[in-house]
Symmetry: C2
């Protein structure tokens, strides 16, 4: 259901757009919040049009279809935002690897794992830092996303220090 909401939110924020545009926006502005590729977005827009949440406008150059949010779509969006209790479901592969770390007897191996996690967080942080302020629309989510990644990075640094201390007790 949240994919719909994300699409409605983008349409509401940036105005009419094609599936292609929305896929780009996803990558550049919602990336740290929700993920979806064009193969998920195109069919979903068709369903949303069938449900009256968006309207497909006349095709333009290169088969381009422009979608616009409807009043009904805006209503659904606002209702979700105002009423929906956000689920705390989490599936984090870095955290799963962190969970499994004690299985590695060799501290050097554990260090390698954490170094890889650290590199991933770092790359992600750089990616977020390059995001355009973008009319500052996504500012709240961006500050949350950045903080979360920085937290992951800090955890990695601390854990590395800890593991290195254990490796060389003296």
């Amino acid at each position: 259901m949240s994919l719909r909401i994300a699409l409605l939110g983008l349409l509401s924020a940036v105005g009419p757009a094609s599936g292609y545009d929305l896929a780009k926006k996803f990558e550049h502005s919602l990336n740290h919040v929700w993920q979806a590729g064009h193969t998920q977005i195109y069919p979903e827009l068709v369903k949303m049009a069938a449900d009256g949440l968006v309207e497909a406008e006349a095709e333009g150059a290169r088969g381009r279809k422009t979608y616009t949010i409807t009043a009904e779509g805006k209503r659904e969006l606002h209702e979700w935002l105002a009423e929906h209790d956000p689920s705390m479901t989490i599936r984090s592969e870095p955290a799963l690897q962190a969970f499994l770390l004690p299985l590695l007897d060799d501290p050097d191996q554990a260090i390698k794992v954490v170094e890889r996690i650290r590199a991933r967080y770092l790359a992600r942080l750089e990616q977020l830092d390059c995001l355009p302020a973008e009319g500052s629309f996504g500012r709240y989510a961006l500050s949350l996303g950045r903080a979360q990644v920085r937290t992951g990075l800090a955890w990695a640094e601390e854990t590395l220090a800890d593991l290195r201390k254990r490796r060389t007790p003296q």
Copy 2:
């Protein structure tokens, strides 16, 4: 694939266990890292047994089946931990709501949304604080999980302060 890994990790850490046990462990120790209910776990264990990663032992009382990790299972687990580049895929409903906040013109409405997010993070933090040290097996993941939740909570507090300032400019 990660569900398998999580199950192999638990079996490796706590020894032979039933699907029921594993579902409980999931809830009490992997909760902030990965989520899965018994309806996902039971069929997965059957598949894993077919793939030779675990062995189902004789049935006990009340139809209980005990699973043990095999050498092949341990190999897969260690390989994943050592080689797998963790995916950064994230789908966070709180963050999606944060993203959409600027759509609300009324600051009071925005405040309500953030207050609900804050309450959810707070509840989650209390839940984590009640977790048993549990032989401290999940210690690294727990510290990461706690830090992540605290970050979300801090974001909510800051955002509330910011929104309240905007509401009453004087």
